[in-house]
């Protein structure tokens, strides 16, 4: 996975409201139909990094099955980063897709 992809995915997952780490993993797994396999362990260092950058903030709460869980929430800064990151990723993806859909290759060099 490209560097920075996971950050954008996490920010997107949190854009509907506070979530704990496991819910983020599950959401990404379901959204991508398990096509994009992330090593789940990598999620937590990524969350901690985002928190250090003040893009998300965390607090302990109670999960849906009544267990103590740590919830992450987008900050204003995080929401702004998500918008910027989405634009970059959309342009990137479009550019890559255009190249991969191309019908003719590069012009051969004339001798």
């Amino acid at each position: 996975m490209l560097r920075g992809t996971l950050d954008v995915l996490i920010l997107k997952a949190l854009s509907w409201g506070p979530q704990h780490g496991y819910a983020i993993t599950r959401w990404i797994r379901e959204r991508t139909d398990a096509e994009m396999l992330i090593e789940e362990g990598a999620l937590y260092p990524a969350l901690y990094r985002l928190e250090a950058q003040e893009l998300v903030e965390s607090s302990w709460g109670t999960s849906e099955n009544n267990r103590r869980a740590k919830f992450y929430k987008l900050t204003v800064l995080g929401r702004r980063r998500l918008r910027a990151g989405s634009d970059v990723w959309n342009r990137y993806a479009t550019a890559v897709a255009r190249i991969l859909d191309a019908q003719s290759g590069p012009e051969p060099e004339k001798p």
Binding site: Y22, G41, S63
Partner: protein
């Protein structure tokens, strides 16, 4: 960040995944190993998270520290800007008042407490002599001659002459400096010569009065008239009168300066007190808020006192500099006033301290009496 935070978090993650897999029909053992595999290297994840949290915590406290420093600096510069002119004005006024007062106290000390600039001036005597050897009656004998005779030199200098033309004179004694021309006039080298050896067109006689000085005047006139009936006698006065006349102008100047300085000090004290109490009054809502937020009332009441002490301290320093400068000037005007007079400066410092305390008491009492609710409503 507690170290077991990430532990709890990962355990919650695995447990959630296990219960999800078991809901799909997995056995507990299989579900646990699957969930652990999906998570990856648990210890590495933990270490990584802890390291990030630690670095973030350090960066955070560093940032907080610097934010605090910047806030303090901004507050200091704001309050300095707000009261810079006030501080400067207060210090200047105090400096002027204190400086002038010190200088004038120095001057008054010189005049009132040492009226005549001689040691034991109360025991000053006037003498005249009768020169029996030359058969001269009531010839003048200066105090110099008297002391000279009393304290003879041990003999190194026996003779003296003022130029090659004149004959040698025998030295009978040496006296300390005598101020002939005025109390603050410097005297060059001088010698006393017996009148019989060098007569002048006019002469000043000093005579010792045994009883009342002015009844002696008649006796002096009579004595002179018996020698030369046509000899006019003028300006008969006592020595203390003479000194008093010499000091008249400096004394007047000092009195005027004293009055002006006292007014200056009073203005400085009242002005500073008034401005300070205005300043404290303007900050009463602030003090009320601080009280309402739980500030220690006793310590809060000290705040204006410390501010006053700071101002008065700065003013005193500046004032002592002014005093040193101006009493150096006065030293030229007045005899026997040294620029650095210990007791004088002690008196001036007492005045400074009392002025400062008087100026601080009012504001401090006001702050001590503030009722938070009323102060906030104002």
């Amino acid at each position: 960040m507690k170290p077991d935070d990430i532990d709890d978090e990962l355990r919650f993650h695995v447990d959630s995944r296990v219960s999800e897999l078991m809901a799909e029909g997995w056995s507990r053992a299989n579900a646990v190993s699957r969930a652990e595999a999906e998570l990856g290297d648990r210890a590495a994840v933990q270490a990584s998270c802890q390291q990030i949290a630690r670095a973030a915590g350090q960066a955070h406290s560093r940032r907080r520290y610097w934010i605090g420093v910047v806030q303090d600096l901004r507050y200091a510069s704001r309050s300095l800007q707000r009261s810079a002119s006030f501080s400067v004005a207060t210090i200047a006024v105090l400096a002027l008042g204190i400086g002038l007062t010190t200088a004038v106290v120095a001057a008054l000390y010189g005049i009132i407490y040492s009226p005549l600039p001689y040691p034991d001036s109360e025991n000053l005597h006037q003498v005249y002599a009768v020169n029996t050897a030359k058969d001269l009656h009531e010839s003048p004998m200066s105090a110099a001659d008297f002391y000279a005779l009393r304290d003879r030199l041990p003999g190194e200098v026996r003779r003296i002459r003022t130029s090659a033309d004149t004959g040698w004179r025998t030295v009978v004694g040496v006296v300390r400096d005598v101020h002939h021309g005025g109390l603050n006039t410097a005297e060059g080298p001088a010698i006393y010569i017996p009148h019989a050896q060098k007569a002048e067109a006019w002469m000043t006689w000093m005579s010792m009065a045994v009883h009342s000085p002015m009844t002696k005047a008649a006796a002096v006139r009579a004595a002179i008239a018996s020698g030369d009936r046509n000899q006019p006698v003028s300006d008969v006065m006592t020595l203390s009168q003479l000194v008093s006349d010499a000091l008249a102008l400096p004394r007047l100047a000092a009195a005027v300066a004293a009055a002006v300085s006292l007014i200056a000090l009073l203005l400085a004290a009242f002005g500073t007190g008034a401005v300070l109490s205005r300043l404290i009054a303007a900050r009463i809502p602030e003090f009320g808020l601080r009280l309402a937020l739980g500030a220690n009332p006793a310590r809060l009441a000290w705040t204006p006192v410390w501010e006053v002490v700071r101002l008065v301290g700065a003013g005193s320093l500046a004032g002592l500099l002014v005093a040193a400068g101006s009493s150096r000037l006065l030293a030229g005007l007045l005899h026997d006033v040294s620029p650095f007079d210990g007791p004088t400066y002690a008196v001036a410092l007492a005045v400074i301290v009392m002025t400062g305390v008087a100026a601080a008491i009012g504001p401090a009492m006001r702050v001590a009496r503030i009722a938070p609710v009323i102060a906030l409503r104002e």
